[in-house]
Amino acid sequence: MTLALTVGVLVAGAAYLLQRRELLRVILGFVLLSHAVNLLLMAAGGTDRRGEPLGTDPDPLVTGDPLPQAFVLTAIVIAFAITIYLLVLAVTGSRSEAAGTVAPGDDDDPHPDDLDTDQHRTGQHQTEQYRTDDHRTVGEGSTP
């Protein structure tokens, strides 16, 4: 019963965060959601048998189901890798890199990928990037 409530609380928190504008909050929502799903998997193994599946001859009457545990173990690591990836996305997105947010009023913009939003960046960074591009152009032009 408590485990089910825990899952419910986590899902509610995750659902709330996933609906926020801030990418970091969305990512935290994802983390909570992965916790919820992992605990749900553990619940599938049952909460009345709580012995550890270790040793030469574990007693099936009191030992926890090892299969959900194995699933959850790998799920944790995968979720971790995806969280890292999402965090990287949060700091490299085209319009949100400086603010970490989605700018308000973007709902109607049909071309979210347009690069002209780069002007949100700090001036220094922008010049750096253009400099790099120029070098490459010159390099290509000078190749016979």
Binding site: Q19, P53, V91
Partner: protein, 926 residues
Amino acid sequence: MSLGLAIGGAWALVAAAPLLTRVLGRRAGWLLAACLLGLTALVVSARSTGDVQAEYAWMPTIGVSLRLRLDGLSFLFALVVLVVGALVLVYSSSYVRTRTSGFFTLMTGFVAAMLLLVLADDLVVLFVAWELTTLCSYLLVLRSGSRAGAPATRVLLVTAAGGLSLLGAVAVMVVRTGTTHLTAVLEHPAWQQDPTFAGTVAVLVAFAAMTKSAQMPFHSWLPDAMVAPAPVSAYLHAAAMVKAGIFLLMLLAPGASASALWTPLLLTVGLTTSVVGGLFALQRTDLKELLAYSTVSQLGLLVAVIGVGTSGAMLAASVHVVAHALFKSAAFMSVGLIETRTGSRDIRELRGLWRAMPGDSLMLVLTAASMAALPPLLGFVSKELVLDAMLHSPAGAVTGWVTALVVTAGAVLTVAYSLRMLVTTLPGPAAQVTPWRTTVPMSLAIGTAAVGGLVLGLAVPLLDAVAAPAAAVAAGVPVADVYPLALWHGLNAALALSAVAILGGVGLTVARHRVDRVLVGRALLPFTGAQVVQRCYEGAIALGRRVGDVTRSDQPAAHLALPLAGVGAAGVLVAMLWQGVPAGSTQPLDVALLAALALGVVIVARAGSRLTSVIAVGVVGFAVVLWFLVLGASDVALTQLLVEILTVVVMVLVLRRMPPRFAPEPRRRHVGSLVISVAAGVAATLATLTFTGHRGLSQVGEFFLREAKTLTGGTNVVNTILVDFRALDTLGELVVLAIGALAVTALLDARPAAPRADVALLDSPVADPHRNALFLQVLDRALVPVMLAASLYALLRGHNAPGGGFIAALVGAAALVLAYLAAPTDAVSRLERPFLSIAGAGVVVAVGTGLLGLLDGSFLRPLHVDVLGLHLTSALLFDVGVYLAVLGVVLAAIHRLGLSPSDDARREADADADWRAVEDEEVGAR
């Protein structure tokens, strides 16, 4: 056996073509042509020795195998494909200019695909070969120049649409008859018993064939494809690929003709195409376009005569396939030669070809005569047969005469446009011709095809052995029922109609100026086929954009609200399945954990500061760790604990690049999402209570608990599942981790991360990086070696006690992260590790261990060895792979996100320098 050899040989040729062209250049065409003739000999010997079936296992579980068979029909088409293919390759050895390697590879690829198509005795193989021909044609058109993009796309779209139709037909046939074996499918009684089935297949197959064989209204791709070079047009768009549709119709006619739709559909479409195609051809002044529409028209004639379906009609179709392949490929090759020598292929510009190139002109005359069905050429024989078949149509004398007269009308136009190719271009003073490397191969190929039409016309009984069995198969009658071929059939109605056609055509040619005034440059229809296809194509894309507009938003909420509301609504459904709270023991600690966790969730949701929310998520994470622990999952708890620590580190690195506080949001948004969230949470709780905890230990779980020690020698059951029982899952997961490392790196390479906000610190010891890091540096020196040792220990003991690759790697990563954090500045960070190589090595080690398992009969089966009383298993090696993959992804994140903006700039400068160095090297090499 020979058939398998022929198919294998053809594909081996495709593989060898790039190498051959590299060594021999254009001359590889000769060698490839010789090889095709060798394959022809193989097929002929297979036919004569009766070695006409082969079967190789392909997808045994669904009953699909690589079945091949060589009956009369496939023999005829195999000969056309191989012999014309050889001629065209010889021609190409002189014709092609640049990028020969790709050209020869694709051409031989097309030969191989076509051969597979005609020999296939399995519907799935047939479909695959059909699509391969489409693909080769698309690529061959596409590579023929910068203007070829749009036409190539249209070619692909139209022919691929036909492919989908064929797929539908194949699916219907397989489902209804229960087999993919083509011979068995055609013998199935369902064709006669089930008119709906026969009708569906007939329409789908007819549609597929009509797109492939360029029938109205799908003909537009063929003139479009004329941007391709002459050999491609001669082979794909005259002799082979467009004949695939004809082959399909003849192949499935024994079954599909049971439908009442078959004959009217094919006759209407075929005859219309034949006449309208002829009219279009008469309008053209570009020789290649003229020939393209002529092909459309001739294919229409073939479709119509197949629709008649009698053995005489199928004989006519078989002979006309050969005649058309010869004269049309020769015509296309001639036009290619003329264009190469004179620089033009426009009737209005070409003059005096006879004096300039008499031999080639003679061949063009022979070709045009065969096309115009003048005696004694093969085209005449086949046209006679077609007229005769129409007149003896089983549909009755009236239909027979009407169709025969329409064919005659088409024939008038054919004669007119065939003569039109000659009357103005040949006479006159010798044309200016530019020298070209040897044209002998071109003239040889054209001559062989053109003279072939003459010889086979004069000695047409030679064709009996090939055409009659093909007709018998297509008509579903014994070979003996097909009457023999002859040049002269006596004075009959068909001959009279032929004479009318020739006279009419000559008449139109004499009055050609008047005809030209009526036809040339005038649009017969208010639109062209290409425009229609283009319009449909653009319309489909516009429609897709309109559909996409509904969901095109940057707001995560816009995409998530609906599914989340769905989750909430699912709660109602779950409530209907309610079976009471499961009997699970609740312990006091559980309640405490729930309380701590709920508190954490509320703080995360309410926090205005980013750091607060990250810390609160950490609190939730630790509560979850304890949950795992009280549930008896110590391995899982350990993993979660380490992941929590590392997640916080990575998040902090990201936080440096974001403003410290979240932007405020309007209140009304909170209320709506709060309602949805609570609904989702309630649904999740109800679902957990309903779907879990109502049964005892799962059978699988019990099996693992009982047998793990016996089967794997390990006593940590969870670990044995990961590295032994379900190692394939784990392999998939560690590949995901390696991809994660790759993706993080690629993403940060493509778009640099947002610059780090410079936090102004007070002038205190904390502000000085060196003094600030002192505490951690001391810890680092003491702890890192211990942690690395612990990591190794966890890895080694994982099979028998809590530990294993995941946990060990996370401990190791934590040690390296500590070392990183202890460094006073990013610049002197000691984390310059080749993280991508590490992650890649993980995958390699894991896969290698898996392959080692093959020694014991199965991928990923662990091997067990006892060395000096110590039990060793290759599962440990697999765990090393897991270890490396996990380490790789953590290092990638720390290293790439840990860089400060100044480091970013330095790195970019380095990359720039590398780029220049590479370029200098390239320049130097040249």
